[in-house]
């Protein structure tokens, strides 16, 4: 039971890292980057190659994160920004096409085989927690997710840039009218979101296996997180990730037959009862 809770928490933290960028970008720009999962996969593969070349997991963590950030930045400047006048629908569809391209590029560069990214030696083994032995690496994943969440929370709530982002989510036009270069803010948010996706990819490497096509499963879960949590909000992404992570984990254990339907039911229930999501962004009361 405690082990399943921890497993659920661990999946939730991965999902949080992945979906927070998706969610805040949506809040600012009203479009969803469906190639977000592809950046997750890119991070994992770059991390894998780095570990194979240097043997250092921590270097891999940095390289995977950086690769996803750079790829995301280029993607935005080269393609997505130009599509802005055409509206969000075109942007979303273009990013859907990018999934195909990313998948085939990954197959060409890294081949068709699934590989496991070795975790750091310092986090090997298990640690006793709440009376059970649990893999140390997975505890690290949980801690990392919580740390990133706390950092983002502090950044959004306590810094000037955070205030600008929140203002942009509330009312983009008004924020721009106040003399803030909202496009630059958005670019920064987009790149940070992509970097987090890459980070999640490397972190997930030792837990899930790394293969061309690993992006789709996590993308779907991330989309559900964004829809359930309420797009545009950090708290929403966190709550959504917790809910989806737990539902996935306990669903697989208790009701493996209907685990998929459980997720759909959860999403349907939230959308019917609270179409705006659990904790949507917006002016606080």
């Amino acid at each position: 039971m405690i082990i399943q809770l921890l497993n659920g928490l661990q999946l939730a933290m991965l999902l949080f890292l992945l979906s927070v960028g998706l969610s805040v970008v949506f809040g600012l720009m009203r479009f969803v980057n469906l190639a977000h999962g592809t950046l997750f996969m890119l991070g994992a593969f770059v991390g894998l190659s780095t570990v194979e070349a240097t043997g250092s997991f921590w270097l891999a963590l940095a390289a995977g994160t950086l690769a996803a950030a750079v790829a995301g930045g280029l993607l935005y400047l080269g393609l997505l920004r130009r599509l802005q006048p055409a509206g969000p629908l075109k942007q979303v569809l273009v990013t859907f096409g990018l999934i195909f391209i990313g998948l085939e590029v990954a197959r060409l560069v890294w081949g068709d085989y699934a590989e496991r990214l070795p975790g750091p030696a310092s986090l090997a083994g298990a640690t006793e927690i709440f009376g059970v032995y649990y893999p140390t690496y997975r505890l690290f994943v949980i801690a990392l997710g919580l740390a990133v969440a706390a950092l983002l929370h502090f950044g959004l709530e306590r810094t000037r840039l955070g205030a600008v982002i929140r203002a942009g989510v509330d009312d983009r036009t008004m924020t721009a009218a106040l003399g803030i270069d909202i496009d630059r803010v958005f670019f920064a948010v987009f790149v940070v979101g992509c970097a987090l996706a890459g980070l999640a990819g490397v972190v997930a490497g030792p837990v899930l296996s790394v293969y061309a096509g690993m992006d789709m499963g996590v993308l779907i879960l991330a989309l559900v997180v964004v829809v359930i949590g309420g797009p545009g909000s950090l708290k929403g992404a966190f709550a959504g990730a917790l809910l989806v992570g737990m539902a996935e984990t306990f669903g697989q254990v208790w009701l493996p037959e209907v685990a998929g339907m459980l997720l759909y039911g959860l999403m349907a229930a939230v959308l019917v009862l609270r179409p705006q999501g659990l904790l949507p962004a917006g002016p606080r009361a």
Partner: protein, 324 residues
């Protein structure tokens, strides 16, 4: 959104059918397979065209309804041993039912959210059949029964005859959907697409119309799925991957989303192109992704729009000559 076609459209439909039959006559074994695949793809594309082109609902999970039709036929026809005709009808009903359950939630959402939820649900269904052992999991299941048309001298186990049968079904689906598009129901869908607020203000139950379109599209996609299952007597989760949903969306965009004949012609082009690409490289999906991105970037009205523009120009020139 495309306005209803002119009266010449049935002539174009006939021309397309004649071309397909001509190709069928001229080609060898593999060509007949391509005709069957084109007919099935055309049915699937026409069903998505109703959603995208008429109702303005861009679904990224349409392969799920196609696949569920195929699996339902396998379930009823093979596992439960129902007569194939009954199993086929039941499979179409299952497609409609699934669309009803998904659409009930999805049509409440607009634009980007609708895309997200259709993609997510489509992949959930795909994941379900990947895992589920009772239908063979990843490996799929063979031995799906075919419709028995020996009464009219047709043997669907023969690929050549099956291709003609699929073509006939495609033509039938075209005629039915064409009536639907021109009916008050189709007009209402276009009105909603054009201006949802206004349609709502005029007292139109917008959600119910969208749901009805979603259900019809799901049922027709399931029908296409039952044909796909009968073609190879085999079902596998491949039938419902997101890549297929993407392919069909390409076909619909190229064909000029709302034009049933445009998307059917585009289906033929696509099957031909994909066949070419896949004989050249194992990585044809890369080309497909590039085509997808470029298409979305440049897409105007697709084939249908281009032809109409040409026709209008010719007509204008003729009128000018007559005036002179």
């Amino acid at each position: 959104m495309t306005p209803p076609a002119s009266h010449s459209r049935h002539a174009v439909a006939l021309l397309l059918a004649v071309l397909a039959v001509g190709y069928w006559l001229a080609s060898g074994y593999y060509g007949k397979e391509l005709v069957a695949e084109t007919a099935i793809t055309a049915i699937l594309a026409m069903s998505l065209s109703l959603l995208v082109g008429q109702a303005g609902l861009v679904s990224l999970g349409h392969a799920a309804y196609f696949g569920i039709g195929a699996y339902a036929l396998a379930g009823f026809g093979q596992k439960l041993g129902w007569p194939p005709a009954l199993a086929m009808a039941a499979a179409v009903a299952v497609g409609a039912l699934l669309a009803l359950v998904v659409g009930w939630v999805a049509v409440r959402l607009a634009g980007v959210f609708f895309i997200m939820i259709t993609l997510a649900v489509g992949e959930m269904i795909h994941a379900w059949f990947l895992k589920d052992r009772s239908f063979g999991g990843v490996g799929g299941m063979s031995g799906v029964p075919r419709l028995d048309l020996s009464g009219i001298g047709v043997d669907l186990a023969d690929p050549a005859q099956f291709a003609l049968f699929a073509l006939a079904v495609a033509l039938l689906v075209y005629l039915l959907l064409d009536r639907l598009v021109l009916s008050p129901f189709g007009q209402t869908l276009r009105a909603i697409h054009q201006n949802e607020e206004r349609a709502r203000a005029l007292g139109c139950p917008v959600g119910r119309y969208k749901l009805a379109a979603f259900v019809v599209a799901g049922a027709v996609a399931a029908l296409a799925g039952t044909l796909a299952a009968q073609r190879s007597a085999f079902v596998s989760p491949e039938l419902m991957t997101w890549t297929l949903s993407g392919e069909i969306l390409i076909v619909v965009i190229v064909g000029g989303s709302g034009s049933l004949l445009g998307v059917s012609a585009a289906a033929a082009l696509w099957i031909g192109l994909r066949h070419q690409l896949s004989t050249m490289t194992d990585h044809w999906m890369l080309a497909m992704g590039v085509i997808f991105v470029v298409l979305v970037l440049v897409a105007g009205d697709g084939i249908d729009g281009a032809l109409r523009g040409l026709w209008r120009r010719i007509a204008a020139r003729r009128a000018a000559r007559r005036a002179a």
